[in-house]
Each structure stands twice: as C-alpha cells, then as structure tokens.
Amino acid sequence: MGPFELSFFVLPIVVLLVGAVAGSVIERRHLASLARREELPSPILTDLGAPPAGIVTGDARLVFGEAVLGADRGKEFVSSLRNLVGGEVVSLQKLMTRARREARLRMVDEARALGADFVLNVRFEICEVGGKAADVICYGTAVRRR
C-alpha cells in the first residue's frame, strides 16, 4: 500500500477510532465525576420565579455555571449517520445532558460557597461558540433562609 492510500483511507479511520475510544473513556470519567459531585449536599434548586409564600429569604445574589463540552470524532461520525436515517441522536443527547449537569454543578458550587439554602428561577441558556460543541450557561438567584 502506497503513501497515497495510507493517507486517504487508513488515516481517517485511525483518527476516528482513536477519537471514539478516547472520547468514550473521557465520557465515562466525566459521568463518574458528575455522579460523585451530585451526591454532595446542595442548596435546593427551583425554577420558581419567587420564594414560595411562607419561606422568608434574604441575601439574594446571582450565581452562574458554564460548561462547553466538545463532541469526539466517534460521536460526530455516529450523528452524521443518524442524519441520514433520522431518529434520536443519542450520542449528542448524552453530550448535552452532561454539559447541563456540569454547568448546573458549577452554579451549585458558587451557591454553596455563599451559604445559600435555595437557588431560585434557575435557567439554562445555550450559547454556540464553536462548531460541534455543547455550550451551556446555568444561572439563578441564590438566597438564604431567614
């Protein structure tokens, strides 16, 4: 096999395989890290726009969490195949979910550092900066019970 065939046929497959294998290792590690951190004590999160009547709160402050996760080559490949036949793109759905969980955890970290009991009006915003990446901003108002 000459160098021409090598670069045109073998290399892309190697890149795809390396990307897919490394990508799934990184994904597994991230899922384990998310699960571990979600066990930590956390303020109660809600998307209610105001503290419920009967709960007296104070010390309100806006808190944020951001995360941008890239899709690996394996996911890109699977999703491009999926585009041909339609249906749910599970690989990218998982990526979006991980990005939201990460952004949410970072917001929770900020709220916890403030000693907050609740985070009110939690919102998720998607912001596309790169190509195939999941970019999430999570924000809300951290308050303390009084």
């Binding site: 990508g23 990184i26 105001a50 010390d59 890239g70 690996d72 990526l95 790169g130």
Partner: protein
C-alpha cells in the same frame, strides 16, 4: 449593586423603578484557542478555553448592564435575563438585560402605624 433574576429582592422592598438596562458583548475565540479546541474535538471532553470565553463574556455583559444601572442611580437590577446569538462562526454575542430599581431593606421601612 444587588443583581437577581427574580422579580423582587428578598428582604427588600422596591421603592423606585428606574427602567430597563442592558449590556452586551461579542467575543471571538482567538487562534490559539481555536487550535486547542480543534485537538479537543478529536477526543471530546471539556473545551476549557471556550468555557473561559463564556465566563468572561457573561461578566463583561453584566458589568455593562450594572454600569447603566449606576448611572440611573439604582441600587439593584431585578429580573435579569441572558440571551445569546451566534452572529458569525467563531463569535458569540451575549446580551444581558434587566430592570434597574431602587430598593430599601425591609427593616428600614417604617411599619404602618395604627
């Protein structure tokens, strides 16, 4: 400056409305960032440079919004929202807006007599 994304400030009372304030910023990723992200896109994982870019953009947009509120002599901004737009490939706009108000702590308000 108290900044919240709910309609009231807990423990405070809104005594004055100063109007809508806004701030935006458009950030482009620089070349170094783009190359790093290109490598990361092979194996997946977090694109830290882009996360930092978003954090910076968010802070900048909020700061501009707060500056407007200051000029209106407000001491709080309520109901803050963020929207994002992908203006061009490689650049992202972050837009923050909210209502500038004057608040006083509940304890400072004289309770009605009688």
């Amino acid at each position: 400056m108290i900044v919240v994304n709910i309609e009231t400030v807990p423990g405070h009372r809104i005594v004055e409305l100063r109007g809508l304030v806004q701030g935006n910023t458009i950030r482009a990723k620089h070349l170094g960032r783009d190359i790093g992200a290109g490598l990361k896109n092979l194996v997946g994982g977090e694109l830290r440079a882009y996360t930092e870019l978003m954090t910076e953009a968010r802070r900048e947009a909020l700061e501009r919004m707060i500056e407007q509120a200051r000029q209106l002599n407000a001491n709080a901004v309520v109901n803050v929202r963020f929207t994002t737009t992908n203006v061009a490939s490689g650049a992202a706009e972050l837009y923050a807006y909210g209502t500038a108000v004057v608040v006083v702590a509940d304890s400072d308000v004289t309770p009605p007599t009688g």
